[in-house]
């Protein structure tokens, strides 16, 4: 109730529709506190839940988190296995009746090249997406086995395959003389930009308004490069497990301050 009242203050200005997070600093947090890396990751999970609650109360509709990059698979095998086990544990936990997912009406999406995940994790992820498909209050997009460059390759491939299937279908229904052949195709314009955008992993969601990367790093590390054209980038120095309401509020206040400019840029493109 107190949180609701506190956050009421910020609703006099525009509220971002979509906030993305790069969860940087879990291992450094663990090192600083002389605890295991695993405990650091668990602390990071709690921070995600806090951010979810704050965003829900603020009225944010989409939260995206960069949970596991394809690049992260180059880490030690035992660390990757720990992360997979942790993901499985947390996804199963989220589906329990009393979890925050049901309390807040969270719809979960797993975004990325899910074929790269261990089968139990992939199955749990698909189960979570199905189980929460009817939740409408807020969307939590969890990017796993994700990079922007992989996303674009996937989108291009899917666009090519879709166009190819369309041509084959047309040809199957046409007489021989009316078939679409290589000569008749305008090969420069078959695939349009909207086709690629539709096939990106993030294609069904609006672009993020704010991207927060903790630990002070100023790079995007192959995350949402396509979707952040007009996105306010914010890099607080805090390590991710220590991120708090004040950091989120600061990001939102800056978003409100710069909103007229951001909207003007969005409308132009």
């Amino acid at each position: 109730m107190v949180l609701k009242l506190q956050l009421q203050l910020f609703k006099f200005g525009p509220i971002p529709n979509h906030i993305a997070f790069i969860l940087d600093g879990n291992r450094r947090y663990a090192k600083q506190r002389n605890i295991t890396e695993g405990t650091g990751y668990r602390a990071g999970f709690f921070a995600v839940m806090s951010m979810l609650k704050y965003c829900y109360e603020l009225g944010v509709k989409y939260i995206t988190i960069y949970a596991l990059s394809i690049d992260n698979f180059r880490r030690r095998p035992e660390e990757i296995q720990y992360l997979m086990d942790l993901m499985l544990e947390k996804v199963e936990g989220l589906l329990k009746q009393e979890s925050v997912v049901n309390e807040y009406g969270v719809r979960i999406h797993f975004v990325g090249n899910l074929k790269l995940l261990d089968e139990p994790v992939r199955v749990a992820a698909e189960k979570a997406m199905q189980a929460t498909a009817n939740n409408t209050k807020i969307n939590l997009l969890i990017c796993v086995a994700y990079t922007s460059t992989d996303e674009l390759v996937h989108a291009v491939q899917a666009s090519c395959q879709e166009k190819w299937n369309e041509i084959q279908e047309v040809n199957a229904n046409q007489s021989q003389n009316a078939e679409i052949t290589e000569e008749k195709l305008e090969l420069d314009h078959i695939i349009k930009l909207v086709d690629i955008e539709r096939h990106t992993y993030m294609g069904l969601t609006p672009d993020p308004d704010i991207l927060i990367r903790t630990s002070g790093a100023t790079r995007l590390s192959n995350f949402l490069l396509w979707q952040t054209t007009n996105c306010l980038l914010y890099s607080p120095k805090v390590l991710f497990p220590e991120i708090g309401l004040r950091h989120l509020v600061w990001a939102v206040l800056n978003f409100q301050r710069l909103y007229p400019h951001l909207e003007k840029e969005k409308k132009q493109f």
Binding site: L9, F10, N72, T149, S159, C160, W164, R219, L220
Partner: protein, 262 residues
Amino acid sequence: MDLGNEVQKILSWTSVCGNLGLHLVWQILHLIINVWYSVLGIARMVDSTLISSGLLKSYNAVNISKVRYLAVVIESEEARQTSKVLELLCWLASIGIKSIGLYDREGVLKKSQEVIIEGLNKYQKATVEGSDHGTLLEHVSFADTLLCHKHVDLEFVSFADSKPAVAKAANLLFAKHYVCTKPEKPTFTESDMSEALQAVGYGGPEPDLLLVYGPVRCHMGFPAWRIRYTEIVHMGPLKSMKFGSLLKAIHKFTKVHQNYGQ
């Protein structure tokens, strides 16, 4: 019933007053934030002056070898200030940056390409000849001005080289791999995509550092394929650019360590 109505009126009035009060607090909060940024601006100006004067010795030697390619993203309205863009380029050249990409969304910089290149050549020539070039290079030592005459590779980029370029690369891959007689269609890889972008003329190096000049820290659509691990630093509006701030940003970049996800 009257009491009930009265209570409702009071509650409604309290709610309206409460809302007005909160709105006022919100406006005061934003006023405080604007004041904060003004104070921060003054502090940065002082910091920049100290750096430019050479008093902060740690900035006197910058390891430029780490900056193989630097991109500058400028908000399109500000990109029309060609003289400011030229000044920035000469500062970068004086620091020793040899490859620079200039991006603005609308392609204003591309349209001014010839003017910018000609202007840069004139300044570089003036430096070599030792003629009066006004206050343009007042922050740079004589030794540094000699660097200004070295060749700088300039690339002009706009939004047309960004998302639309990926669509063109997709069409090339479609033509190459789908419109053919082979029954098995390949699975595209990132290498295929890079090669396709290169083939349609939209390759180009990945910037180590991307400096954003404009009101917002935002990459404004710089080609996504090229900024995977690029450090993105906000420099503020172009009209308020300072040499000291530029040097500080580059110096800070040279201290960054990346583990590329490992």
